[in-house]
Symmetry: C2
Subunit: 288 residues, 2 copies
């Protein structure tokens, strides 16, 4: 009988040990920069993207170890986006994963550099993998202007804009779903499951969109203590969210429908899919 | 008889056409972000790094076309460092390559994102090359915390510090020389000249250190009109420069000595080395 909590705990501990081992130590020059990189990367988090990457590798019949480098790279990349998004010039957030944000601790210049370096480390790791070309291409496309960064650009540009269902969908698909989609695709690519990349990508895209809709719901309904970051901040900033555009009830229903779509993609894979199915459900049932 | 000006013009035109062709167009979503990326990348510059990359490919017996992807990637990466270095939280510069800096034109958030995306594009291009692993590993190591970003971190940390010859050498070797070294190494790797990577790297390291020393000299002695960026800014900020630590005369002598060291590395290469020799001399004779 599959135990999700146990699976998440085990996989998180594994990827956190790999991250710790593969990042430069804080006693190596430039010490302050390495300390800033490690502060944000190793300071907690659900580790959803590396866990999905490992689970996707297993779902195509591989081992989670096939996905070690992309899993660590994904969390480095995700953490870089958090550090830069939190900057005063962007969302100006003081709290992240229950702790002060990077620029509050290390100053703005060093936060920018720590983010830059985590983005660079992501590609340094993939360059050392068995399939550097396909893996780096997938991550770069997901992260760049046509992916996460484009979504962040549009997210900022749309502050205080009129509700627009198509626009919020475009933002969420790029800013959040694209990297979750890439997490699954990278796991499949790393484990040699090329025939299942598209299928697992569709799973990740639906699950990723559901994840962001739930984030919108939690931001509107939780306390900062529950979230480990600012709550109600979307409304204060006039952010375009699924809740603003569609209301809470519809948002909840859409999230569940997307999870059903995600789970429906899991048929016919050669490896175990219980983890991916359970993670999709966990995405909408979580409280932070 | 080798004509340097002609070589630089031809190679610059070639790489600028490749950059223009390989970057997302400004009429593709997200338009404003792509416009910001193109503004900084295609807005002039000596294109020293891609030219060195192409010249290194030729020096090992290859063609400049072998180096197209790393050449474009190097200029994307260099431009990202300029955009982020110019930010208010870093050096707070208003002028670059004779035009307003990215954050003055597009705002701080979009300048950060445009830099992030150019860094990402660099690896997207290398991922599509014939040797994605070695090329991306070289660029990531040169750009990251143990390279350019580490140099920029130390540069900021050392503002108003006491003159320190070892410290200024460490800053210059990381912040500037490392990417010029990588430009030469990437050209050799891309053209299959693996036996000459170390040798061309030593050429680039010496030439790169000379380049930064001359930058320090020009910053101390030129007008903004001559430079296309702020002049005298090093002194105003209390930056650790070669001129501050060693004086103008010694700086000039050190630059020439380093160029001699660089040129001495060019013996025994299978292809033409006139361009690399002439570029090293040009580095200390230039006036901007």
């Amino acid at each position: 009988m599959f135990n999700l909590k146990d699976y998440l705990d085990r996989t998180r501990e594994w990827v956190e040990a790999e991250m710790d081992r593969r990042l430069p130590r804080a006693d190596e020059w430039p010490e302050g920069l390495h300390a800033a990189m490690r502060y944000s990367l190793l300071g907690g988090g659900k580790r959803l993207r590396p866990i999905l990457c490992a689970a996707a590798a297993e779902a195509v019949g591989g081992q989670r170890e096939d996905a070690t480098l992309p899993a660590v790279a994904l969390e480095c990349l995700h953490t870089y986006t958090l550090i830069h998004d939190d900057l005063p010039a962007m969302d100006n957030d003081d709290l992240r994963r229950g702790r002060p944000t990077s620029h509050k601790v290390f100053g703005e210049a060093n936060a920018i550099l720590a983010g830059d370096c985590l983005l660079t480390v992501a590609f340094e790791l993939l360059a050392q993998s068995a399939r550097p070309g396909p893996l780096a291409l997938e991550l770069a496309r997901a992260a760049g202007s046509r992916g996460v960064a484009g979504g962040q650009y549009e997210d900022i540009a749309s502050e205080r804009a009129a509700p627009d269902a198509e626009r919020v969908r475009r933002i969420h698909l790029h800013k959040t779903a694209r990297l979750i989609e890439a997490s699954c695709r990278l796991g499949a690519i790393a484990a040699g499951g090329d025939d299942f990349v598209e299928q697992l990508g569709r799973y990740g895209r639906s699950a990723g969109l559901a994840f962001q809709i739930v984030d919108d719901i939690l931001n509107a309904t939780s306390t900062p203590e529950q979230l480990g970051k600012a709550a109600g901040s979307d409304a204060r900033r006039g952010k375009l969210t699924w809740v603003v555009v569609h209301g809470l009830d519809r948002a909840q229903r859409d999230a569940w429908a997307l999870v059903d779509e995600a789970v429906a993609e899991l048929h016919g894979l050669p490896g175990p899919v219980e983890p991916l199915a359970a993670i999709a459900r966990y995405i909408v049932e979580r409280h932070h």
